[in-house]
C-alpha cells in the first residue's frame, strides 16, 4: 500500500511495513482455509481483521506471524521484528506449575520491575503471584496482553484480546491498545468480533470470509454492501451490537430497508447523519459505560458485583439487543 504518501497519522513517520502478506493463502487437507489475503501493518498502525467464525482471521494472523507457512503467496516480516502475541486460546494443564510472574517471562528473561509495570498497565498487577490456570477468562486476557507488551514489541498481534473481559474492561483495553501504538510506536494486528468498539481505535479494517471481502477505514467497511451482506442480517450473533446501530440500510435507489425487512421511502426520523453520527454514538456509548464502571467501583463491593453492574448497564444500553458474545463467554 502507499503508506509513504499518506499523511503521518500520529505525528510519526510512517516507515516500511513491519509485516506484509501478499495474495497469501493456506490450504489444509485440500481445503482453502483462507486465500488471497493482502495486508500490511506499519509502525503505529492498527489493522483489524473481522469476519465470522472460520473465515480465516486467525489463520491470516498466523501467516503474518510465521506460525503457518502460506501455501500460496508471500508472507514477509521485517528482519529482527520483535513480536508480542496474544493467542486466541491458552490452556495450562494442571501438571504445569506456572505463576503469572513466570509466565510473563515465557519467551524472554525480564526483570521484575518490567513485569510489574506491564501488569499494571493492563490492570492485572494484583495477579502477579497467582497461578495461570486459576485465572478467569478476563484475567487471563489481561495477563496475556501484559505479557505481549512487556517486551516493548514492534508488532502486537492480538487474537480476540477482549474475549471474556467485562464491558468496561473491554473499553479500557482498547484504549490501552491505541495508546500503546503512540507510546511505543508499535504496529497492531488485531482480530475482533466486535467492530463497534474497535471502530474508534483502528486505522484499517479487513473483513474476511475465506478471502478479503472488503477493506478500508472502519466507516467505509461498515457501509460496504459486502460487510452488511456478511453481518447485517444475522440476528443475535457477535456483530449484533453493530447491527443495532444499522437498523436500516440505505438502498441504492434512495429508499430505506429496515431491520425487519420492510422498505420505505425514508427512515422517518430515525435517520442519523451517517458516518459522523455513528462514531459519535460509539463514543457516547463508551462514556456511558465508563460511568457505570466508576459507579461500581465506588460501591467498593466485590469484583463479581461490579461486573454485574457494568453488565446490566451494557444490556440496558443495547435496548433489547441480544447480549453479545463476549458477555456470554464469561
Amino acid at each position: 500500500m502507499n503508506a509513504m504518501e499518506k499523511p503521518a497519522l500520529s505525528g510519526q513517520d510512517r516507515q516500511a511495513p513491519l509485516v506484509r502478506l501478499e495474495r497469501a493463502g493456506v490450504s489444509s487437507g485440500g481445503r482453502w482455509l483462507v486465500r488471497g489475503v493482502d495486508l500490511s501493518v506499519s509502525p503505529g498502525e492498527i489493522v483489524t481483521l473481522i469476519g465470522p467464525n472460520g473465515s480465516g482471521k486467525s489463520t491470516s494472523a498466523k501467516m503474518a506471524l510465521g506460525i503457518l507457512k502460506p501455501s500460496e503467496g508471500k508472507a514477509e516480516r521485517k528482519p529482527g521484528l520483535k513480536v508480542g502475541y496474544v493467542p486466541q486460546k491458552l490452556l495450562v494443564d494442571w501438571t504445569l506449575p506456572l505463576t503469572v510472574r513466570r509466565f510473563m517471562a515465557l519467551t524472554v528473561k525480564l526483570p521484575d520491575a518490567r513485569i510489574l509495570a506491564a501488569l499494571e498497565r493492563t490492570g492485572a498487577a494484583h495477579l502477579m503471584r497467582a497461578e495461570v490456570r486459576h485465572l478467569s477468562g478476563g484475567e487471563l486476557q489481561r495477563v496475556l496482553l501484559a505479557r505481549a507488551i512487556a517486551v516493548s514489541p514492534d508488532l502486537l498481534v492480538l487474537d480476540e484480546p477482549v474475549q471474556g473481559v467485562d464491558y468496561s474492561g473491554e473499553i479500557a483495553i482498547y484504549e490501552l491498545i491505541s495508546r500503546l501504538r503512540t507510546e511505543i510506536g508499535c504496529g497492531v494486528l488485531m482480530i475482533s468480533h466486535d467492530l463497534h468498539l474497535v471502530m474508534a481505535a483502528t486505522d484499517q479494517v479487513i473483513c474476511l470470509n475465506g478471502h478479503v471481502c472488503c477493506r478500508g477505514t472502519p466507516l467505509v467497511v461498515s457501509q460496504s454492501p459486502a460487510f452488511l451482506e456478511l453481518f447485517g442480517h444475522r440476528a443475535g450473533a457477535g456483530i449484533a451490537v453493530y447491527q443495532h446501530n444499522h437498523d436500516h440500510v440505505h438502498l441504492p435507489d434512495g429508499r430505506v430497508r429496515h431491520a425487519d425487512g420492510t422498505v420505505s421511502e425514508d427512515c422517518a426520523g430515525e435517520h442519523c447523519d451517517a458516518p459522523h453520527d455513528h462514531a459519535d454514538q460509539a463514543h457516547d456509548h463508551c462514556a456511558h459505560l465508563d460511568q457505570g464502571h466508576s459507579h461500581a467501583h465506588g460501591e467498593s463491593c466485590g469484583q463479581g458485583h461490579s461486573h454485574d453492574h457494568s453488565h446490566h448497564g451494557h444490556s440496558r444500553d443495547q435496548s433489547g439487543a441480544p447480549v453479545k458474545e463476549t458477555a456470554d463467554a464469561r
Binding site: K62, Y85, P97, L106
Partner: protein
C-alpha cells in the same frame, strides 16, 4: 570407595535420577509418557543390534532410540494413524524385533531380565563415567534450551510467534530423551525407565510452585527413591531396579495425601487477605 559394588550402584542411581528429574517434568507436561516408553522399548532393539554388529551398546541404543523418535515424528506428520496408535505400533514392534533378534543370536548368552529390569548392582567404573559424563552433557543441553522448550510446551504458537522454533527445540529434547534412556538402561532396564522419568516428576508437582522448582524437586525425589530402593533391595533381597520404582511409587503416594490440604490452606489464605 568405588570398589564396593553397592556404592557404585548408589552413585549410578543418583546420577540417573538427577538427569531424569527435569526431563521427566517435560514428559509429564507434554503428555509424552507413552512416547518415552516407545523410545525405551526401542532400546532393546538397540542392544540386539549392538551385539549383532559388535559395537558400543550405549551408542547403539542412543542411535536406535533417536531414529525411532524421528520416524515417529515423520509418521505423525503424515497424519494417517492417530498418535497413540502409532506409538503403540512402534513401541511393541521395536520390543518384539529386539527380542526376536536376541533369540536368533544363539551364540550370545545374555541376561534378558537384566536388560528389561536393569542390573544396577553390576555397574562398573566405565558405566559410572558414562552416566556422569553423559548426564552432565544432557543437563547442559537442557539448560541451554530450557526457556524456549518450556515456552513451546506452554503454547507452541505463542513460542513460534515470538521467535522460537518449536520444532527445533522439540527435536533437541527428543534426542536428550534418547540419551537419557541410553545411559539409564543399565540402572532400571528398558521397561522401567519411563517410571524413573515420570514418577518423581509427578510427585514433585504438588510440592512446586514453578517449573524450575519442579525440575529440581523431581531430581531430589528421584535420588531419595534410588537410595531407598537400593537399601530396600539389599535388606529384603529384592530385585534392585523394580525396588527403586516401588520406592518412587511410595514417594508419590506420600506426596498425595497431606500436601494437598496444606496447599489448599495456603491458597485460601492468599485469596482472603491479598
Amino acid at each position: 570407595m568405588l570398589d564396593d559394588f553397592f556404592t557404585r550402584a548408589i552413585l549410578a542411581g543418583l546420577g540417573v535420577a538427577i538427569v531424569a528429574g527435569p526431563l521427566g517434568c517435560f514428559i509429564v507436561w507434554r503428555r509424552m509418557a507413552y512416547f518415552g516408553d516407545t523410545l525405551s522399548h526401542g532400546a532393546l532393539l538397540g542392544v540386539a543390534l549392538s551385539l549383532l554388529m559388535q559395537v558400543n551398546t550405549t551408542l547403539t541404543v542412543f542411535v536406535v532410540s533417536s531414529a525411532l523418535a524421528v520416524l515417529l515424528l515423520l509418521l505423525r506428520r503424515q497424519g494417517t494413524l492417530s498418535s497413540d496408535a502409532l506409538l503403540g505400533l512402534l513401541s511393541h514392534s521395536a520390543l518384539a524385533i529386539g527380542l526376536v533378534c536376541l533369540a536368533f543370536m544363539t551364540w550370545v548368552r545374555i541376561d534378558l531380565l537384566g536388560l528389561l529390569f536393569g542390573d544396577i548392582l553390576a555397574v562398573n567404573r566405565q558405566d559410572l563415567l558414562l552416566i556422569y559424563g553423559g548426564g552432565v552433557l544432557v543437563l547442559a543441553l537442557l539448560a541451554w534450551i530450557w526457556r524456549p522448550l518450556f515456552a513451546a510446551t506452554v503454547n507452541p504458537d505463542l513460542a513460534a510467534a515470538e521467535g522460537i522454533k518449536p520444532e527445533r527445540v522439540n527435536l533437541v529434547f527428543t534426542l536428550l530423551l534418547a540419551g537419557v534412556i541410553a545411559i539409564a538402561m543399565k540402572v532400571v532396564g528398558v521397561l522401567l525407565i519411563t517410571a524413573l522419568l515420570i514418577i518423581p516428576a509427578a510427585s514433585a508437582r504438588r510440592l512446586s510452585s514453578g517449573p524450575e522448582m519442579m525440575a529440581v524437586i523431581a531430581s531430589l525425589l528421584g535420588c531419595v527413591a534410588v537410595v531407598a530402593g537400593l537399601f530396600g533391595s539389599l535388606k529384603w533381597d529384592s530385585p534392585s531396579g523394580p525396588s527403586i520404582v516401588v520406592a518412587a511409587m511410595g514417594i508419590f503416594i506420600v506426596s498425595l495425601a497431606p500436601w494437598e490440604r496444606l496447599l489448599a490452606k495456603r491458597d485460601f489464605k492468599r485469596s482472603t487477605n491479598p
